[in-house]
C-alpha cells in the first residue's frame, strides 16, 4: 500500500489512520508492527517531501502563436 507514491495530503491522511489504528490496539502484534513499519515509511516520505520541496513559480503568458504557455516567474523587487 505504501509502495504507491502518495501525495503529501494522502500520506498525512494515511498516517493519521495508522496512528488511530495503532492506538485502538485491536490488531495482532505482527499486524501492529507492519502498520508501524508503514507509518515509519510514510513519516520519512512526508519529511523528505517537506525537506526537498522547492517552490515552483510560473506565469501564464501568451506566446507568439497566441498559445497559452507557462514560463518561470520571478517577481521583481
Amino acid at each position: 500500500m505504501a509502495e504507491k507514491k502518495l501525495t503529501f495530503e494522502q500520506a498525512m491522511g494515511r498516517l493519521e489512520e495508522i496512528v488511530a489504528q495503532l492506538e485502538a490496539g485491536d490488531h495482532a502484534l505482527e499486524n501492529s508492527l507492519s502498520l508501524y513499519e508503514e507509518g515509519a515509511k510514510l513519516m520519512k516520505q512526508c519529511t523528505t517531501m517537506l525537506d526537498k520541496a522547492e517552490q515552483k513559480v510560473m506565469k501564464l503568458r501568451t506566446d507568439a502563436n497566441g498559445e497559452l504557455t507557462e514560463a518561470p516567474f520571478a517577481p521583481k523587487e
Partner: protein
C-alpha cells in the same frame, strides 16, 4: 417677405444658436430621475424633473459605461452635460457627460447599491461558499505580476508550503480594463482547470484604486468559479464586493497566502506528534508482551532447570526408597507366613511319627502297604524308619485277631 425655409433648416439654425451659447455648452443640474430607460443600443434615455419642470436627457453608451451605479427613477443626481437640439423632433435635450448620486459619494453609493443587489440575488449566501483545500497543489494568483502584493504572496506561500505550485495569471488590477481582465483570468483558470485554489486581489490603495474589485463582472466571475477563491484586496479595513462573494476573505494579500496553505512548521510538529503516538502505542503493546514474557521467565523451572531436575531426582530417590522398603516389608511378611506354614506342615508330616517308632512299609513300586492282601510271600518290602530304610523279604503273613474289649 422672406423666402420660406425648411424645418430642417430651421432646426439646424436653432441648434446652432444653442451651441453658440456658452452657458449651455457646460451645465450642471441637480434633479430627480424619471422615465429611465436603457435602449438596446446602450444609450440611456431619461428625464430630469423637479416640482414644476422637466427636461429630456440622453446619456450615450460611451459615457454610460463609466457609470459606477445604476441610475433609477426617483434617484437624486447631479448631472453635467450640454444642452442642444435634436433636429428630428425639434426638441432640445440635455446630453449628459457625467452623472453622480446627489449628496453621497458616487463610489460609496455604487458600492452599497451593488452590494444590496447581489446580496438579494444570493451571491453572498454562505451555502455557496466552497471549502478551501487543506493542501492545495496549484494556487493561481489572479493579480498584477508587478508590485509588492504578488511578491509577498509568493514569498509567504514558499516559506509555509513550498510543495504548492504557484501560477501567476497576470491581469491589470486598476483602470477601466481591470474588471474584465480579472474576470477573464478567473474564467480561464476554471476553463483550463489550472489550479485547485485561486487568490485574486491587489495591494493597498485608494477606494478608486481598489474599484475593480467592486465591479459586478469580477463579483460574478468569482461566484461562477468552480475553484475556491480567496479575495485579498488592499489593507485590513478595506472591504470590497469581491470579499463578500469570495469563498474566503483575506484582509491582505499576505494574509491570503497564510490562509491558503498550512505552515510546514506545523506540519513537522504534526509529523513528530504522529511519530510519538505511534512509538508510544507500539511500545505499550510490546511492554505488555515483555511483561508476560518476564512472568513466564520467572518460573522456577526456567530460572534453574538443574535444580528442578535435582528436585525430581530427590523425589525419585525417595520414591525408590519407599518402594524398596515396602517390598522388604512384604517379603518379610511372606517369609513369616511361610515359616508358620512350614511349621504346620512339619507337624502334619507322616515322617514325624517315624521318630516315635512307627514305620512305613512300601512295596518295590512305592506303594504303601496297609493291608495283608497287598503282600505275597517272597515280596521285597522297604521299611522306612526315622533315619533310613530297611530292605526285607516277606517270610509269611498272619492276620491280626483283634480282641473284643469287654
Amino acid at each position: 417677405m422672406q423666402e420660406p425655409i425648411s424645418v430642417t433648416a430651421l432646426n439646424q439654425y436653432i441648434k446652432g444658436m444653442f451651441e453658440r451659447e456658452r452657458l449651455l455648452s457646460r451645465v450642471l443640474v441637480r434633479s430627480e430621475i424619471s422615465n429611465y430607460k436603457v435602449y438596446p443600443s446602450g444609450h440611456h434615455y431619461f428625464s430630469l424633473k423637479d416640482a414644476e419642470s422637466s427636461i429630456r436627457c440622453v446619456m450615450f453608451r460611451r459615457e454610460a459605461m463609466s457609470l459606477r451605479f445604476r441610475p433609477e427613477n426617483g434617484m437624486k443626481v447631479v448631472v453635467s452635460g450640454r444642452v442642444s437640439v435634436f433636429p428630428r423632433d425639434g426638441a432640445y435635450q440635455l446630453y449628459c457627460a457625467t452623472m453622480v448620486p446627489d449628496g453621497v459619494g458616487e463610489l460609496a453609493f455604487a458600492f452599497e447599491q451593488l452590494k444590496n443587489r447581489l446580496h438579494k440575488e444570493g451571491l453572498f449566501d454562505p451555502a455557496h461558499k466552497k471549502p478551501i483545500p487543506a493542501h492545495p497543489r496549484t494556487i493561481a494568483l489572479v493579480t498584477s505580476p508587478a508590485g509588492a502584493a504578488v511578491r509577498d504572496m509568493i514569498r509567504i506561500l514558499g516559506a509555509r508550503y513550498p510543495m504548492a505550485k504557484v501560477l501567476v495569471v497576470p491581469v491589470r488590477v486598476q483602470g477601466e480594463e481591470a474588471p474584465e481582465e480579472i474576470g477573464n483570468g478567473l474564467d480561464l483558470v476554471n476553463a483550463l482547470d489550472m489550479a485547485d485554489l485561486i487568490i485574486t486581489g491587489r495591494g493597498g490603495g485608494s477606494m478608486e484604486d481598489l474599484w475593480a474589485f467592486n465591479d459586478e463582472r469580477v463579483a460574478r466571475a468569482i461566484f461562477r468559479s468552480r475553484i475556491p477563491v480567496i479575495s485579498a484586496v488592499g489593507h485590513e479595513p478595506d472591504v470590497t464586493i469581491s470579499d463578500f462573494v469570495a469563498d474566503l476573505r483575506a484582509s491582505t494579500p499576505s494574509n491570503a497566502a497564510e490562509l491558503a496553505v498550512p505552515d510546514q512548521a506545523d506540519l513537522r510538529d504534526r509529523l513528530a506528534h504522529f511519530q510519538a503516538r505511534m512509538d508510544r502505542s507500539v511500545d505499550r503493546r510490546l511492554q505488555v508482551r515483555r511483561d508476560a514474557l518476564r512472568r513466564l521467565g520467572s518460573s522456577p523451572f526456567l530460572q534453574s532447570p538443574q535444580r528442578a531436575i535435582q528436585e525430581k531426582r530427590l523425589l525419585l530417590d525417595y520414591q525408590q526408597q519407599r518402594l524398596l522398603h515396602a517390598m522388604d516389608r512384604q517379603i518379610g511378611e511372606h517369609r513369616q507366613q511361610m515359616g508358620r506354614l512350614a511349621a504346620s506342615l512339619d507337624a502334619l508330616s507322616p515322617f514325624k511319627v517315624l521318630s516315635r517308632g512307627y514305620s512305613i512299609t512300601q512295596k518295590d513300586d512305592g506303594t504303601v502297604v496297609s493291608e495283608l492282601s497287598q503282600v505275597e510271600k517272597g515280596d521285597t518290602l522297604r521299611v522306612r524308619v526315622s533315619d533310613g530304610t530297611i530292605t526285607c523279604t516277606a517270610e509269611g503273613k498272619e492276620k491280626t485277631k483283634w480282641r473284643k474289649r469287654s
